[in-house]
Symmetry: C2
Subunit: 199 residues, 2 copies
DNA sequence: CATTGACGTCAACGCCTGTTGGCCTACAAT
DNA sequence: ATTGTAGGCCAACAGGCGTTGACGTCAATG
């Protein structure tokens, strides 16, 4: 072993980089092995050699670590802003999560992968901050909807007002929403009356 | 003309109904003309006869009227709840908007269609309610991100906590968020400091 | 030097897709 | 009864896809 010769795993990385980019920008179905290979200046069969099949390549390319900061150290009232800022920064710098989001829109298995990410990473990071453990999953999911909604508007649908906003503005608007989802009383989320009553 | 014989436009409607369903559940790429035809108990070539090509069929199938209620008649403070309830009800009953959302995730043209819907329908309905006309588009877009985020979580990703929530619970949580996006001071969205400062 | 084995290419397979044109059939009008 | 026409099916095309296997070609190893 010990890196037999100059290339090898290097090519693998090049394929992976191109694949991430293509998956993120065009989604799974519209990304072809051939186009990836062409962009990586390589034969399509090499992609198969290194990753077995398209499915497997996507799995590797879309493996994600949100790298959420330790939120328990964040002062209360700033959690929403910190979290929002973290996500926007992550999305702006690399599109891996966007690739998965795109695919999840039309593929149940990718949706499952997305669910797993938010269950293990977002919910886990957020649960300690919730006043009521029983509602933690629900609160985390609400947080996810708002953050993913921003991602959808900014990177997928390209809604002009969202695209034009500075990261700081997004944080200023969305941060308080996140905070409210995390800390507001579960029966009466905000001010105002609003009976929820399940039964 | 004058409806020559029993079927004809009837078949067209059947195709359209099946197409809506398939597009909504599986997205554009994974929905095939053949599968639509098969489900409609018809030959694939008939689909072409009636709609020209797949693209055109999708356009017709995904034409959407959000049918937003008149929000200016809604008492202030209830707008968010009314709007959220309207969307959740619409989504639960028919999946046309979901079909478009799915497609928009991987097709720029569908994304453009989505943008147009929100520009002409959501922004238009919401603009009169905003304190500052200059910020109306931005506020409407923020509203859209939260509503679409819910749609994504509930109907596409199937995040368990979101799926399990009653429509009333969603309204109770999300309504106030919508209200805040529509009415909160633009520089300091909520409580707390949080300078936005573009320069 | 001979051998091995990984890196890489080429050409092809089988499959599924959107799309087309020809043909059949049955009704409505003449 | 004949004709026109619209509804419908069938068979096939061309093209793109993921995937495969045989075939070169070097560098490192014995």
């Amino acid at each position: 072993m010990t890196e037999t010769r100059r290339s090898g795993a290097e090519t693998r990385e090049r394929i992976l980089a191109v694949a991430r980019e293509h998956f993120a920008q065009q989604g799974y179905d519209r990304t072809t092995i051939r186009s990836i290979a062409s962009a990586a200046q390589i034969d399509p069969s090499m992609v198969m050699r290194y990753f077995g099949n398209k499915e497997e390549l996507f799995k590797v390319a879309a493996s994600i670590d949100l790298a959420l900061p330790d939120l328990s150290a964040t002062p209360e009232g700033e959690v929403g802003r910190v979290m929002t800022a973290h996500f926007v920064r992550t999305w702006d710098s690399e599109g891996t999560l966007m690739a998965l989001l795109r695919r999840a829109a039309s593929d149940p298995q990718a949706a499952e992968q997305m669910r797993s990410i938010f269950a293990t990473q977002v919910a886990a990071a957020v649960a300690p901050l919730c006043p009521d453990p029983a509602q933690a999953a629900r609160r985390a999911a609400l947080v996810a909807t708002q953050l993913l909604g921003i991602a959808l508007g900014r990177y997928v649908l390209h809604l002009p007002p969202i695209v034009e906003m500075d990261p700081e503005e997004i944080v200023a608007w969305v941060g308080p929403t996140i905070d409210r989802y995390l800390t507001a009383d579960s029966a009466q989320p905000d001010q105002e009356s609003g009976r929820v009553g399940s039964s």
